[in-house]
């Protein structure tokens, strides 16, 4: 679950104040808003990549407002995937477990598992160069999900995809998160997309978040 | 640990070992020499020879004389050999250089392409409109300064426009070699390194030689070793031979090489206290031996006439130098010593003037007139006062001793009542001034002047000259004054 209380965040000249919303456990939340209205900022704040000037952030009922990004139980998929260009897909999936000290056989097992779940098994030894848009998104997703976070944050994951891949991706996201009971915070500028994926929808208007 | 981090540490460790391991394992500390780049060939050869003979390495840093000058300041070097003496002099003025030794001479002239195609033959050719000429920058290169001086002297500098000027002499030579100019005014020693260039002498340049000197640095941590190498470099039979082979004209007054040269010094006995300390200091600093023979000058002169050839003679008086002057180079008067009368403390006999010596019952001591300058001068003094015969006739004078020191002892032990000695004899011992009183004479002929001269056939003329410079330095002068000598040498300007 993820809950935001009275959050105030500053991003350069720009400030978002008194953000309040909650996504119950296992639910798929979508935050909509025009480009540049602050939704990415809120996402970054939730992930711990931006300093908050006021308010609290709760993940699984734990106050993570002052925690390091890696200690919040959150997986992050940025807008263009931001893959590691010099590492293989396998290394992407194994990255988080390795950093967190998992044993190598546990890592290998998890990698195979994830690859199967996301259809990446044939691509395991490829590097990001030459992968299609959809494949890259799946790798980014797998990387974020590797250690089974409680919450998954997605920044416009579908914007760059073509029609067919779009539909595939929507289906994949819903299935994977539902199967693993992951709470999702998905931000987008498209209302249609929000309606396709989300259990809950929020909207940013005039610097405030309102439920829909 | 992360692979990248691990590799970095491995590299760092390897570096640390590699870098540190670059130190000498040997005990002999090398000499550090700053040498003008133009002399690389002869100096490298001499240093190599020296290392082979004595096992001491010489680390040479080459560069422009001016650039090297900047390095003298940091106190890490031992020797400085500049492309010409004006730099060495500058270094001496700044206090970086202690001793200097002459190496060779250079003359300026025109370097031209082989065969002298443009037919350059006279100094006035600099004004030829069909010639491209390169010179040294008068502000930066000593050859440039020299060029300007000579050209100005002969009225050729005004209106002279060189095609190009360079800050170092080698660059001038290079540009002639490459054919970008027709001639360059450089040193003959530099020109001889360029086998594809010819050199044209002209009388106006020939008339003035420039010299190259090597200097030992004041901050050197191994002055004795540095001096030794410099002696080797400037030795007639060692370093200078290499320079001559490379087209340099070596200095005429050069020492023969010896690892520990021995200098035979004949010195009037009365000078002993004044120069003893200087001898010690000099021996220690240069690592050489000075063998002084102190005696009455009369004896010394006889020895010389019998065939002895000392490297130097420091005489008690001018008259005794004149007797052997053909054996020595031109003497320099260093000090003066007044003759005084010594009487027992309290002057019980009341001897106050020279005529008082005629008093009855006095036991008088004089130095031997033939064996010592003191004796001869005493005789001369008394004769000039018209007293000599009378005093001798009184029978008061006991048989003469050879030296003033002996007379001082006799008066201290009460064997005599009055003696005539040098003031320095009296002041040689702090004890003696307590036992006796000094009675001034102050007559025209009561002063002896001491000249110093270097032997004509000496194998170590420069070494002796440096020794001379030691005892006429401020510290050396103080020793003379301490013992009652007067200083006669004019101040160096």
């Amino acid at each position: 679950m993820v809950r935001i209380e009275n959050l105030t965040v500053r991003a350069g000249e720009f400030e978002i104040t008194d953000v309040n919303f909650e996504i119950p456990e296992g639910k798929y939340g979508v935050l909509m808003g025009k480009t540049g209205c602050g939704k990415t900022t809120i996402l970054e704040a939730v992930c711990g990549l931006k300093n908050v000037t006021g308010g609290k952030i709760f993940v699984s009922d734990r106050d993570v407002t002052n925690e390091l990004p890696g200690r919040r139980g959150i997986g992050f998929v940025p807008q263009d995937g931001s893959l590691f260009t010099t590492k293989t897909v396998r290394k992407h999936l194994a990255f988080s477990p390795k950093v967190r000290g998992w044993k190598s056989d546990a890592i290998a097992k998890r990698v195979d598992e994830l690859a199967a779940e996301l259809g990446l098994t044939d691509l395991l030894d490829r590097k990001p160069h030459g992968l299609s848009g959809g494949e890259r998104q799946r790798v980014a997703l797998g990387r974020a999900l590797a250690v089974k976070p409680a919450v998954l944050c997605l920044d416009e994951p579908l914007s760059a995809l073509d029609e067919d891949t779009h539909a595939e991706m929507v289906e994949l996201l819903k299935r994977v998160t539902a199967e693993n009971g992951i709470t999702v915070l998905h931000i987008t500028h498209s209302r249609r997309e929000a309606e396709l994926v989300g259990d809950l929808q929020f909207r940013i208007e005039d610097g405030r978040v309102i439920g829909v | 640990m992360h692979p990248i981090l691990r590799n970095f540490f491995l590299v760092l460790t390897a570096l640390a070992f590699a870098g540190c391991g670059k130190k000498d394992g040997t005990d002999t500390k090398p000499l550090v020499m700053f040498c003008a780049a133009g002399m690389k060939k002869p100096v490298t050869a001499i240093a190599k020879q020296y290392e082979e003979e004595y096992g001491i390495p010489v680390e040479i840093q080459f560069g422009g004389s001016g650039t090297l000058l900047a390095k003298l300041d940091i106190g890490k070097g031992d020797i400085y050999l500049a492309g010409d003496s004006s730099y060495t002099d500058l270094a001496k003025e700044k206090g970086h250089v202690a001793e200097t030794m002459g190496v060779a001479y250079m003359r300026a002239g025109f370097a031209v392409a082989k065969g002298n195609p443009k037919g350059i033959a006279a100094l006035a050719d600099v004004k030829r409109s069909d010639l491209k000429i390169a010179i040294g920058n008068p502000g930066a290169a000593s050859v440039g300064k020299f060029t300007k001086k000579i050209l100005s002297k002969h009225g050729l500098w005004d209106g002279f426009e060189p095609t190009v000027t360079f800050p170092t002499v080698n660059e001038i030579a290079n540009t002639v070699k490459l054919g970008t100019v027709d001639a360059g005014i450089i040193w003959d020693a530099v020109a001889s390194q360029y086998s594809d260039l010819d050199f044209v002498n002209v009388p106006e340049f020939e008339a003035e030689k420039k010299d190259i000197t090597v200097g030992v640095l004041t901050d050197s941590k191994q002055p004795t070793e540095a001096l030794k190498f410099c002696r080797y470099l400037t030795a007639k039979d060692k370093g200078l031979m290499v320079f001559a082979a490379d087209g340099y004209e070596p200095v005429e007054t050069a020492d023969m090489w010896a690892k520990t040269p021995e200098v035979a010094l004949f010195s009037g006995a009365m000078l002993r206290p004044a120069i003893e300390k200087s001898i010690e200091k000099f021996e220690a600093r240069e690592g050489v031996k000075i063998n002084p023979t102190y005696n009455g000058c009369g004896i010394l002169v006889s020895q010389m006439k019998a065939g002895e050839t000392p490297d130097a003679y420091f005489s008690c008086d001018q008259s005794f130098m004149t007797m052997v002057e053909e054996r020595f180079s031109k003497p320099t008067t260093v000090s003066a010593n007044e003759m005084v009368m010594l009487v027992k403390k309290g002057n019980p006999e009341s001897v106050l003037t020279l005529p008082d010596l005629k008093k009855d019952g006095l036991k008088i001591g004089f130095s031997h007139p033939k064996k010592s300058a003191l004796g001869a001068l005493t005789q001369r003094l008394l004769e000039s006062e018209g007293l000599y015969k009378e005093i001798m006739d009184t029978g008061n004078v006991v048989p003469a001793s050879a030296t003033g020191d002996f007379l001082v002892n006799q008066i201290r032990s009460n064997a005599l009542d009055v003696v005539i000695v040098y003031r320095s004899n009296a002041m040689a011992n702090t004890g003696s001034t307590a036992d006796v009183d000094i009675i001034e004479i102050n007559r025209p002929k009561s002063i002896a002047v001491q000249p110093f001269a270097i032997g004509q056939g000496s194998a170590h003329p420069n070494l002796v000259r440096r020794f001379y410079e030691t005892f006429v330095s401020e510290a050396g002068k103080a020793e003379f004054l301490k013992y009652g000598f007067r200083w006669e040498l004019a101040e160096e300007n």
């Binding site: 967190r100 590097k127 160069h129 990387r143 | 990248i4 590699a18 690389k40 940091i74």
Partner: protein, 284 residues
């Protein structure tokens, strides 16, 4: 290619060609001058020959020292430049403009001044009595007029170039990748080593070779601070200088051509190795 694009290509190619031609012609001039004057071997003790030059102990030691010192200097430059470039790229702090300017100073200072400054720093500071050099000497470490001075002199200038290169490299890598790594559990340090450095391998390679070649060409600071002592602190660049000052222009040119050859071999080698590792220095 459409007709209208051909003139454009011709124009930019010509400009490139002119400069290339200048460089190649310089080398050709050197080669002709040098090889015409210096025979392969010679019995005359006064005449230089290729055999003599390349079997001269001093020249061989000079080559060895050059390779060693340039490599060490390049490594040190990278060790400093990578974190410094990262700092300048990712962080803001008071006085950053000033720091930026200071880091460019070694590029602007005339090389001889760099050498003189180092000489003064080590031997005349701190003022009054024991200098840094004296302190180090008492610990058994000798810098001035030793190999260490060669490396320090080269590093002082080369690093400035590397810092600039790395700063640009990091500027072009989106901070997102590090941020993702952080969310995956990396500390900033770990993110730096595991993600940022592999991502910037091309920039690192460029910065490293730039430092290496810059070190090789530099001789002013070495001349003053390390002295060009044959068999001890003489490197190829100072060998060339010495040969010129003693009028052996042909030998200077030959040695320079050798330097160029070594540099080209290294540069091409590094590029080829880069290409082989396309997609990663460290395989994932």
């Amino acid at each position: 290619m459409s007709k209208s694009d051909k003139p454009f290509l011709a124009a930019i190619s010509s400009l490139a060609a002119i400069y290339l031609l200048l460089i190649v012609l310089m080398l050709v001039a050197d080669a002709i001058y040098g090889f015409r004057a210096v025979p392969f071997s010679s019995d005359d003790p006064d005449k230089a020959s290729l055999v003599k030059i390349f079997t001269d102990k001093a020249v061989i030691n000079s080559i060895k020292l050059t390779l060693f010192s340039c490599t060490v200097s390049a490594i040190l430059s990278l060790i400093v430049a990578v974190p410094t470039g990262y700092l300048l790229s990712r962080y803001n702090f008071p006085g950053k403009l000033l720091v930026d300017a200071i880091l460019d100073i070694p590029i602007v200072l005339p090389p001889l001044v760099v050498g003189l400054s180092l000489l003064l720093l080590f031997n005349k500071m701190p003022p009054g009595g024991t200098s840094f050099e004296d302190m180090l000497n008492s610990l058994g470490i000798e810098i001035t007029f030793n190999v260490a001075a060669v490396i320090i002199a080269q590093f002082s200038v080369a690093c400035a170039f590397s810092v600039r290169t790395m700063r640009n490299t990091f500027d072009q890598i989106s901070p997102r990748t590090e941020q993702v790594a952080q969310t995956l559990g990396c500390s900033r340090a770990r993110a730096f080593f595991s993600v940022v450095i592999p991502e910037s391998w091309r920039g690192i390679s460029t910065a490293g070779t730039l430092a290496w070649t810059r070190s090789m060409g530099e001789f002013g600071p070495i001349l003053v601070f390390a002295g060009t002592i044959p068999n001890k602190t003489e490197v190829l660049s100072s060998t060339v200088f010495l040969e010129i000052t003693t009028g052996s222009l042909e030998t200077a040119v030959i040695v320079s051509l050798m330097m160029v050859t070594i540099a080209v071999v290294v540069l091409v080698g590094v590029r080829m190795w880069d290409r082989k590792n396309e997609g990663g220095l460290y395989h994932g």
